[in-house]
């Protein structure tokens, strides 16, 4: 009780004293470092010995952990099953944890209990160099520039800058020439679908008869002969199609006259937003949902966008059946599939 009284009394006294001596300062003054408070280990040799033992024990934990890693490596290999792989992972990791955490906690405990905790003060100096050093630096630079003659011989400056500015082209031109493959960005316009290409199941490649497509079912479709293509994976990335049979009465619109066959509609599976495969079909609503960004398309209505960040409908693949009753394409898509780009409509 008495401490707090005396402190405040001193303060008032000091303030009063200042009143007499002159006006109060505008702001408080920094009181300087707080007095050091000793820790238990500073005062009690028993505590210090205890801390030493604790630090040593923690290092011991680390040693045991490292031995544990070696034991786990030898005794618990990943084996042939997922279960044995998980056991191996868990034991190795737990032992590694002990091996590391032992060292870490030992070092921190050591620093906090046994190393000096007296705060040290170091002076700061302004970052900028002294005027003499600056003058010296400028003099050196000036002397060098003088020596090189760059100021007097203007032609040298121009020639040097031109040469230095141009030399990176020697590396950049071959790199830019090659880094984009053939740079044939027109390839975005076409897919491998053409008149008469059969629609086949992904990934088996078996053709699909119209009669096999029941109302409400959805098929993931690739073009026939995809795997024979040289760059089949790039072709697949453009040509994948989602095909659904609707009740013809539900079909409100399509993107072209006669592009569907008896209620079977086929749309590019590549989202017109940023290109994820649009794979979630809701049978009841005829909605197609992109799982990446939730663009939603109504395939009964020409794949109109009903929600989400996509702007355009999924391009429709015109289809029909061939003589044997298999579903085939009437042509390629009538517009570039996938996300928008600058020259898409050119």
């Amino acid at each position: 009780m008495s401490t707090e009284h005396s402190q405040s009394t001193e303060l008032t006294a000091a303030a009063t004293h200042r009143d007499v001596a002159g006006p109060l300062p505008e702001r408080f003054e920094n009181p300087g470092l707080e007095p050091h408070r000793p820790r238990l280990t500073d005062e009690d040799p028993g505590a210090a010995r205890r801390a030493t033992r604790q630090v040593a024990a923690l290092f011991g934990v680390s040693v045991l952990g490292t031995i544990g890693v070696i034991v786990a490596h030898v005794a618990f290999p990943p084996g042939d099953s997922v279960a044995s792989m998980r056991t191996s992972n868990l034991l190795l990791g737990a032992a590694l944890f002990l091996s590391l955490i032992g060292i870490g906690t030992a070092a921190v405990h050591w620093a906090k209990t046994l190393m000096s905790d007296h705060e040290v003060v170091e002076a700061r100096h302004p970052q900028k160099s002294s005027p003499e050093v600056r003058e010296g630096a400028i003099a050196v630079l000036r002397e060098g520039a003088e020596d090189s003659g760059i100021a007097r011989r203007g032609v040298l400056k121009g020639a040097m800058i031109s040469a230095l500015a141009l030399f990176p082209l020697g590396l950049a031109v071959p790199l830019i020439g090659e880094v984009g493959g053939d740079w044939n960005v027109g390839a975005f316009r076409h897919t491998m679908w053409k008149r008469g290409t059969r629609l086949t199941r992904d990934p088996s490649g078996t053709p699909i008869k119209a009669e096999d497509v029941t109302v409400g079912s959805a098929f993931h479709v690739i073009p026939d002969g995809l795997r024979e293509q040289e760059h089949w994976i790039e072709e697949k990335a453009k040509a994948v199609v989602l095909m659904v049979r609707l009740d013809p009465a539900d079909l409100k619109s399509e993107q072209g006259e006669g592009w569907s066959y008896d209620g079977i509609v086929a749309f590019s599976k590549i989202c017109t937003h940023v290109g994820c495969p649009v794979a979630l079909y809701e049978q009841q609503t005829h909605h197609l949902l992109c799982p990446c960004h939730q663009s939603t398309f109504d395939i009964a209505d020409g794949a109109r966008v009903v929600f989400g960040p996509a702007s355009r409908p999924l391009p429709q693949l015109p289809i029909t059946v061939d003589d044997e009753g298999y579903l085939v394409a009437q042509s390629d898509f009538h517009e570039p599939i996938g996300p928008s780009y600058w020259e898409r409509l050119k």
């Binding site: 505008e26 009181p31 870490g104 705060e119 984009g180 790039e234 994948v240 989400g308 702007s311």
Partner: protein
């Protein structure tokens, strides 16, 4: 020292080595200047250390992984212990990741530590950046180091994204496809940007080897160089410290590098590594064997990128698509992708990088600052930071809107609409609330300095009056609350000088004065000594039940109880 005849053989050997090195490198001067260098102590200074140590863990575990990973998109057929994938066609990259996960002893552990460390690396960078931002530690002379750190954050994102895609699984493959879609949206050069990335049409056969070169050479090389520069500048500038007794703009108070920080920081590396090892041991991350190899057709529902990409993903999800694809003169400008994918992140990062220079211009302050500010003492800056984080958080949540919908049984459309509105409304609200909270905290500080701590001691005077005794702050405790400078908006000189000539640069000055007013118009100044004296004079019996104002009516028993309470408090 060398005269000491009882020194051990170890010490002799160390001395000989030191002598050998010093004669050839003159390293003695560096040791002398550096070994006892003082660093201040504060938990928030550990955030940057966590970033550094997770980077070291990434390098160590990354080297391990390079010995087993095959960066090739050549096709192969898997034959190995993981039965569900037996006979499946996949790239050699994916097959090698299965090999690392199932056949290399410790391979899965190292892979998982590597992935967790990557997430922690970027989380630590971001929180470290928040600490620097909110305490104004980016002010002169540290603006350049802020830029270095800012570039390090961008490199961290590049490292994360390039590494994430390397296993060539279906999840990361669709992530690359989204990146391709965003690249294509860029006006004029979009298609070429896409070809540049993939060496032709998506996905091509070069993206994995290219990302590998970026991930293990280019980006880590740059990170290493810039980390070196970042730390060099920390040493040159000497670390900031928080306001406190004895801490000034002209000194740094703390503990010496050797031995205290060698032990604490060195130990902390092992703690970070140890925790990451425990995470790798017990928490599955990126189980690519469940996703399967990349194929352009399938996609998994509920797909999430790593957390640091969620804000970009969330932006793409929130942007409405209707009417946002512009066609001008036959050229397509897909604003539905450009706005969230290019413009908003571009703006966000530009503002973030430029902020120290903006604030320096607004305040016109050209002095060096080495005392980290308490966030409450700069309410507008703190508000701007919280508003930015709020927008970031809304976008992160939006990046998980499908998970929210399925876990909480909500409509995805409703969530998306709520978040669209929140992205516009929440940041200004957060700014306003944060600013009010900061001003309130400053007032609380004033209150505390002027009237002291409430002690809970009720005293009755002879007159029957009851008061609660307040305990004044001691000068150390008080200093933390009064150390900051009172701030004022910059004054605007008149538009015309005394000869009636319009002053050059008036418009720029006027703009600056306006922004400066936004920053400092609402303010709470620290208590001055005069205010404290005045407060104590009129509230004397409140604060000072000293000898002259001894409450005569206090009951002896109550007094004793109070004493015990006070003693207990001090103990």
């Amino acid at each position: 020292m060398s005269q000491n005849t009882t020194q051990s053989r170890g010490a002799t050997a160390a001395a000989a080595t030191a002598d050998y090195l010093d004669q050839r490198t003159g390293i003695g001067i560096a040791v002398k200047n550096f070994a006892r260098k003082v660093f201040p102590d504060h938990w928030s200074f550990l955030l940057g250390e966590i970033a550094l140590y997770s980077f070291l863990v990434l390098v160590l575990t990354g080297i391990f992984l390079t010995f087993f990973f095959v960066p090739s998109m050549g096709m192969t057929v898997y034959e190995g212990p993981f039965a569900p994938m037996d006979g499946v066609e996949m790239s050699e990259a994916f097959a090698s990741v299965l090999n690392i996960s199932f056949e290399v002893t410790g391979g899965l552990l190292i892979r998982q530590i590597h992935h967790w460390a990557a997430l922690l690396f970027i989380a630590a960078i971001v929180t470290h950046m928040m600490r620097v931002f909110f305490t104004g530690a980016f002010r002169k002379p540290r603006e350049v180091n802020w830029l270095v750190g800012f570039v390090l954050m961008l490199l961290g994102l590049a490292a994360g994204f390039s590494g994430y895609s390397l296993p060539d699984d279906v999840l990361s493959g669709n992530g690359l496809r989204i990146a391709d879609g965003v690249a294509r949206s860029i006006p004029i050069v979009g298609s070429y940007a896409s070809f540049l990335l993939f060496g032709g049409e998506f996905p091509g056969e070069v993206i994995i080897p290219r990302l590998y070169a970026v991930h293990i050479l280019l980006v880590p090389g740059l990170i290493l160089a810039l980390v070196g520069l970042h730390l060099l500048l920390v040493v040159l500038h000497k670390h900031t410290h928080y306001a406190g007794p004895g801490r000034t703009e002209r000194n740094v108070v703390g503990y010496p590098l050797f031995p205290v920080y060698v032990a604490k920081a060195g130990g902390f590396f092992f703690i970070v590594f140890g925790v990451l090892a425990l995470m790798g041991a017990t928490m599955t991350i990126n189980p690519v064997w469940n996703y399967g190899p990349y194929d352009p057709s399938p996609v998994s529902a509920g797909a999430q990128p790593d957390w640091y990409m969620l804000f970009l993903e969330g932006g793409l999800r929130l942007m409405p698509g209707q009417g946002t694809e512009w066609v001008i003169a036959g050229f397509t400008i897909p604003m539905n992708i450009l706005v969230p994918g290019v413009i908003i992140p571009g703006l966000l990062f530009t503002v973030l990088g430029a902020y120290p220079f903006v604030e320096a211009w607004v305040t016109g302050d050209r002095r060096e600052h080495h005392i980290a500010e308490r966030p409450r003492n700069n309410p507008v800056r703190t508000g701007v930071g919280v508003a930015t984080l709020t927008a970031f958080f809304v976008l992160v949540v939006a990046g998980s809107n499908d998970i929210l919908a399925t876990h909480f049984g909500l409509s995805i459309n409703d969530i998306t609409w709520v978040l669209r509105v929140a992205l516009i409304v929440a940041p200004p609200v957060a700014f306003w609330a944060t600013k009010r909270i900061c001003l309130g905290l400053q007032r609380k500080d004033r209150e505390l300095v002027l009237h002291g701590h409430e002690t809970g001691r009720i005293v009755r005077f002879a007159s029957g009056e009851y008061i609660e005794v307040h305990r004044p702050l001691d000068e150390y405790e008080r200093w933390v609350r009064v150390a900051h400078e009172p701030k004022r908006p910059v004054a605007l000189l008149p538009a015309y000088d005394e000869r009636g000539v319009r002053r050059k640069g008036y418009r720029r000055d006027a703009l600056r004065a306006r922004v400066s007013r936004i920053f400092f118009e609402d303010r709470v100044d620290p208590v001055t000594p005069a205010e404290l004296v005045a407060a104590q004079a009129h509230g004397e019996h409140d604060a000072l039940p000293s000898a002259s104002a001894e409450p005569v009516g206090a009951l002896p028993a109550a007094e004793a109880a109070v004493d015990r309470g006070a003693d207990a408090h001090q103990a």
